[in-house]
């Protein structure tokens, strides 16, 4: 448990920046021309970017972007995906066949490619980033929920509920979902890391939030042009991004070990 303090602290800091960054009196879009590309120093402890904007302020503003995108995307895609996957497995038949086929089609787009194409077609902006990532994100949850429901749908308590005339929606929500929650929570944790990377990736490609709004991805993209003279422009958002993703992944690993039913049985 001791090893979890720094991931937890990192994530709390991230959430704090996102939720209260607006109250910190920062000026992420304030341009101060004489301070262009200034190194970190006494004046501003993380330095300035190519337009003379303070990197610390932009880092906090970027935390807001990534937090909002990650939370909304994982919320939307976990709910949509779980419902689709659970209903598909519970109902079975042609509906299940159809949904499996649709999932296969979405999985045929490698990695972030579909999100890139969708974000590119929809145009930049935080809403379109959320749409693009959710359209891609539900698939993982649907596949997992479907697999989980398939393994437990023949259990006796579910058949009992069914024979008592309980409606399918009620069975899924009260009798099935609680049993498949653990792996879904683990999946959601890793999905947060994925969403943070994807948002930054899209913004890096110029398909995410629009300037002057800050995103860690677009900060890295701007900084890449000044690597030699001002490496802090890449390193500041880069290290922050890495720490947040690493923290989420570590927590996900821990959660998986703790919640994994098989793991617990093996320990006995």
């Amino acid at each position: 448990m001791i090893r979890l303090w720094w991931p937890t602290a990192t994530l709390l800091l991230w959430a704090f920046f996102a939720l209260f960054g607006g109250l910190m009196g920062l000026a992420p879009n304030h341009i101060d021309l004489p301070k262009i590309l200034l190194d970190p120093g006494a004046d501003a402890w993380l330095g300035y970017d190519d337009l003379g904007r303070p990197l610390w302020d932009r880092l906090v503003a970027g935390a807001q972007t990534s937090f909002v995108v990650a939370v909304v995307v994982v919320f939307l895609s976990s709910i949509i995906g779980t419902v689709i996957g659970a209903v598909s497995a519970y109902k079975g038949g042609w509906l299940d066949h159809l949904i499996v086929r649709i999932i296969d089609i979405f999985l045929a787009f490698p990695g972030i490619l579909l999100a890139i194409a969708l974000a590119g077609l929809l145009g930049p902006g935080i809403n379109n980033v959320i749409i693009a990532l959710s359209v891609v994100g539900w698939v993982g949850f649907a596949r997992l929920a479907r697999a989980q429901v398939l393994t437990i749908k023949h259990r006796e308590h579910i058949q009992a509920a069914h024979s008592l005339g309980t409606r399918p929606a009620r069975i899924i929500i009260y009798h099935i979902l609680p049993l498949i929650m653990a792996p879904l929570i683990v999946e959601a944790t890793f999905a947060v890391a994925g969403a943070v990377i994807s948002e930054a990736g899209l913004s890096f490609l110029g398909l995410g939030v629009q300037p002057p709004e800050a995103s860690w991805g677009s900060m890295i993209r701007d900084g890449a042009r000044y690597l030699l003279v001002a490496p802090h422009m890449v390193l500041v958002p880069g290290v922050m991004l890495m720490l947040v993703v690493l923290a989420v992944n570590l927590l996900g690993d821990q959660l998986r070990d703790r919640l994994d039913v098989h793991g617990r049985q093996r320990d006995k």
């Binding site: 086929r101 194409a117 890391a193 990736g201 490609l205 890449a224």
Partner: protein
């Protein structure tokens, strides 16, 4: 074997068809009037009508789809709005660069992931294991668009060993391949570790140990052979991470491949080219995955008997 072959091919064909449908619909997902978005607001009405007609957007959706599929079967992907060149020619120009990058990244990934994964599995729960898995976790947490600039900063700008960007000889390949390869190695090494650990728990390994065989012989001769089978499938699946990640890596290093073309075309609102790129990259992925499945089925009779 034959029924396994047919069922795999049939589902692959279905997925290919579905992917093509989705890519076809891309133009209709553009908010507002795609022609106006592509040509800009200042375009002449006559030019707009001409493009609308050229893209078939003035036809009913089903007719459009029929034409699109018909053209596709004749390998006619239309013309680029930006350069007016046939898209097929543009793709053919770009494909070698992407294939070169993907294959070398795969080699890098395998060269890193196998020793790391085997080390971690053999010395399970030791410092070696923790170190290797910690390294892989850090690797997973560094995205390509961060790893790339960091490698450029250290090896190109500070040490001056490799060019910053572009595709000019073998040296220019090293940094992009490292960027993409390490990302994949991070995931792959965990999978190698997991499958090898599972295999090392098998009864026949205990038998081999009881016979007094050396640990090296047990791991490399007995366990690895069986552990490699699932890894082959995982390699096929990981190709998705590779092809998707290649898009960003190509942009970071100005590597003139399909990914860079995709992003350039998005920026130029040259949507027919975007469609073609996404289609080619995705279909490659589907084909490679189907092939890995078939190879797997051929190598391991249990698979084809189960599914067939």
């Amino acid at each position: 074997m034959l029924s396994f072959l047919f069922s795999r091919l049939a589902s692959a064909l279905f997925v290919i068809f579905g992917v093509t449908c989705l890519v076809f619909l891309f133009l209709h997902m553009v908010p507002g009037d795609p022609v106006e978005v592509m040509l800009g607001e200042s375009a002449q009405p006559a030019d707009r009508e001409a493009l609308r007609h050229a893209l078939g957007l003035d036809q009913p959706l089903l007719t459009q789809f029929g034409q699109y599929m018909g053209n596709l079967l004749q390998l006619d992907l239309g013309k680029s709005l930006y350069s007016q060149r046939p898209i097929v020619d543009m793709l053919i120009e770009r494909i070698p660069a992407t294939v070169q990058l993907a294959v070398s990244s795969l080699v890098v990934a395998v060269l890193i992931a196998f020793p790391l994964g085997v080390l971690a599995a053999v010395k399970k729960d030791s410092h070696w294991d923790q170190g290797a898995m910690g390294l892989s976790l850090i690797g997973v947490s560094i995205p390509n668009f961060l790893m790339g600039p960091i490698l450029i900063l250290v090896f190109s700008l500070w040490l001056g060993w490799f060019p910053v960007s572009g595709r000019d000889g073998f040296v220019s390949l090293i940094l992009p391949a490292l960027t993409l390869g390490t990302a994949m190695a991070a995931i792959l090494s965990r999978m190698v570790r997991a499958t090898l650990l599972e295999t090392l728990n098998e009864d026949y390994i205990r038998t081999a140990r009881a016979k007094g065989l050396s640990e090296r012989l047990i791991v490399w001769r007995h366990a690895m052979r069986n552990a490699m089978l699932p890894v082959i499938t995982l390699l096929g699946l990981q190709l998705g991470v590779l092809l998707g990640g290649a898009v960003i890596t190509e942009v970071v290093f100005s590597w003139p491949g399909l990914g860079q073309l995709t992003i350039e075309s998005i920026q130029r609102r040259d949507y027919p080219v975007v469609q073609a790129c996404v289609l080619v990259i995705s279909l490659t992925y589907v084909v490679v995955n189907t092939l890995t499945d078939l190879v797997y089925g051929w190598l391991d009779p249990r698979i084809r008997l189960e599914q067939g």
